[in-house]
Amino acid sequence: MKQDIKEVLNGFEETNKELPAAHRTEFLEKLQGAEKPMSKPENFYYFIKIAATIVLFVSVGYLALNSFNKSDPIIVETPIEKQLKDIEMQYLKHIDAEWQNFVALATDENLIKRFEQKLNDLDAGYQEITVKFKQDKNNILIIESLVENLQTRLRLLKDIQEHIHLLNQKSEQHENITI
């Protein structure tokens, strides 16, 4: 977990304890005591401890390195990603506006449901292509697929509104037409 080091240090209280005057002599005495030759079994355990420490360090190092590699990568947005995000936002704004116009114009609930389903399907397709784009950001075919998907949604909504306008046009009323 990432934490600001300043915040962590803020939690600490400095202990201004002074060292005892004889601390140097005490330290030297302890050091001499540590230099005493060890017996054989003590020697054996000493090597075991060193080996264990090495294993521990290597394991911790490996895990740390692995977890560093697997941790969230630093995501740098490329110019084309920024551009596509802008394009997507513009299109979605237009699509939403056209959807509102369509819902206001249409009187057939089934028609609205069919379009809602179609737009959802297209959105699911867009998400699929987005995954591919993240894997291959310089493939023009994928970029074109993304833009085409957005264009299709807008076209469908504009076309159906035009169709409804045509149906609402004034025309000659007949019981039937025979030619």
């Binding site: 110019p79 023009i140 075919l141 697929s145 159906i160 149906l167 025309s171 039937n176 037409i177």
Partner: protein
């Protein structure tokens, strides 16, 4: 491609097959050409031609491609991923910003006031010419860079586009039953394809010269669809932005949200549609009977040449455009469907066009259909 272009064979495999053999192709982000085999073998060949790419770049590209083909229990399984006929990659190291020109302008241009009659041959020619079309020719027109000095240049002008051209050709004997499941794939059937086909394609394009098996089941979704000759089979066409069918015989189409032009309708054709636009240009002399069931559809119909036909529409809330008149027939007294328009004598006519349509627009014409604008 320049003189320095290099060719590299990526994959080649041959399988011996017999009449019991089945083939299943799973194609993802791939383009394949499927054509009849001259022998009793299935041949798979993929080669690429590249220019201005380093070997390292090519190796990196190839490493992303996946082609696996096996023959087990008399079944060929082919899996491909990222095997396209054309990879166009861009690189741009300048400081300009990307922008898209005319973002909201329709690719189709302005709405037309008239629809002109087309011959079956001209539709088939249009399909053939599209075989040659590079998939991304249109891209350079809208994908541009605005440089710091304000100059707007296409990526191609800046030399930022590199192209790898590939061709994956599959030759298959006509007796092998073929199932294709594809996503973002460009499938071209060359020649007369007699195989029994079961195709499911989502995004991409299906092009074909002749599909003729009576058990064909073709499902296309959000993709292009261009076939010179359809004989037999069932077709589900959803969201086809520009569909072209040269001629169709004894086949059923179920469609929605599509735009489909048909050069010639022959015997045994029926269409069930929701909210598509259709163009019916010609009819064979013995088309016998054509049935259409539709809701919220727009139909542009050119009359048959022969006078021995009848045309009737049944339904309600449908605009009929003929000459300069727009006629409308409301629901019957019970609020249901009724006979709306009759051309010719249904009892004696040899050929009958029957349309069951609600909330629709039908435009009729001989050589030209005028579209009145509100």
């Amino acid at each position: 491609m320049s003189m320095n272009a290099q060719r590299k064979q990526i994959y080649s495999k041959v399988f011996d097959v017999n009449v019991q053999t089945k083939a299943i192709f799973n194609l993802d982000d791939s383009a394949v050409i499927i054509e009849p085999s001259d022998d009793d073998k299935v041949h798979l060949d993929y080669a690429i031609v590249f220019d201005r790419f380093s070997m390292m770049e090519i190796d990196s590209l190839i490493s992303k491609m996946k082609i696996e083909a096996t023959l087990q229990n008399n079944q060929i399984s082919l899996k491909t991923n990222n095997v396209l006929k054309s990879h166009e990659y861009f690189t741009y190291n300048g400081t300009g910003s990307f922008y898209v020109d005319n973002l909201f302008k329709s690719k189709k241009g302005n709405k037309k006031d008239s629809i002109f009659h087309k011959l079956k041959d001209s539709i088939q020619r249009e399909i053939r010419e599209k075989y040659k079309e590079k998939p991304l020719d249109s891209l350079g027109s809208w994908f541009k860079v605005k440089e710091e000095n304000g100059a707007i240049k296409s990526l191609k002008e800046l030399g930022g586009v590199k192209v790898v051209k590939g061709q994956f050709v599959i030759k298959i004997p006509s007796f092998v039953k073929l199932t294709i499941n594809a996503k973002t794939a460009y499938i071209t059937f060359a020649g007369e394809i007699k195989n029994e086909l079961s195709v499911s394609l989502k995004r991409g394009k299906l092009s074909a010269q002749q599909l003729i098996n009576e058990y064909n089941q073709i499902n296309i979704d959000d993709a292009g669809f261009e076939v010179e000759v359809i004989k037999n089979g069932e077709y589900t066409l959803n969201n086809i932005s520009k569909g072209l069918i040269g001629s169709i015989y004894n086949a059923q189409i179920t469609s929605e949200f599509s735009k489909i032009e048909i050069g010639e309708i022959a015997k045994g054709v029926s269409i069930t549609d929701f909210n598509s636009e259709y163009w019916f240009y010609n009819w064979t002399p013995n088309f016998n009977r054509f049935n259409m069931y539709s809701e919220y559809s727009k139909i542009n119909l050119f009359y048959p040449d022969s006078k021995k036909y009848s045309l009737s529409t049944f339904g309600f809330n449908t605009k009929h455009h003929f000459k300069n008149v727009i006629g409308e027939i409301g629901p019957n007294k019970k609020g249901g469907k009724s006979k709306m328009m009759i051309v010719g004598d249904e009892k004696t006519a040899k050929n009958k066009i029957k349309m069951d349509i609600i909330h629709g627009v039908i435009r009729f014409g001989k050589d030209v259909i005028s579209i009145p604008r509100s």
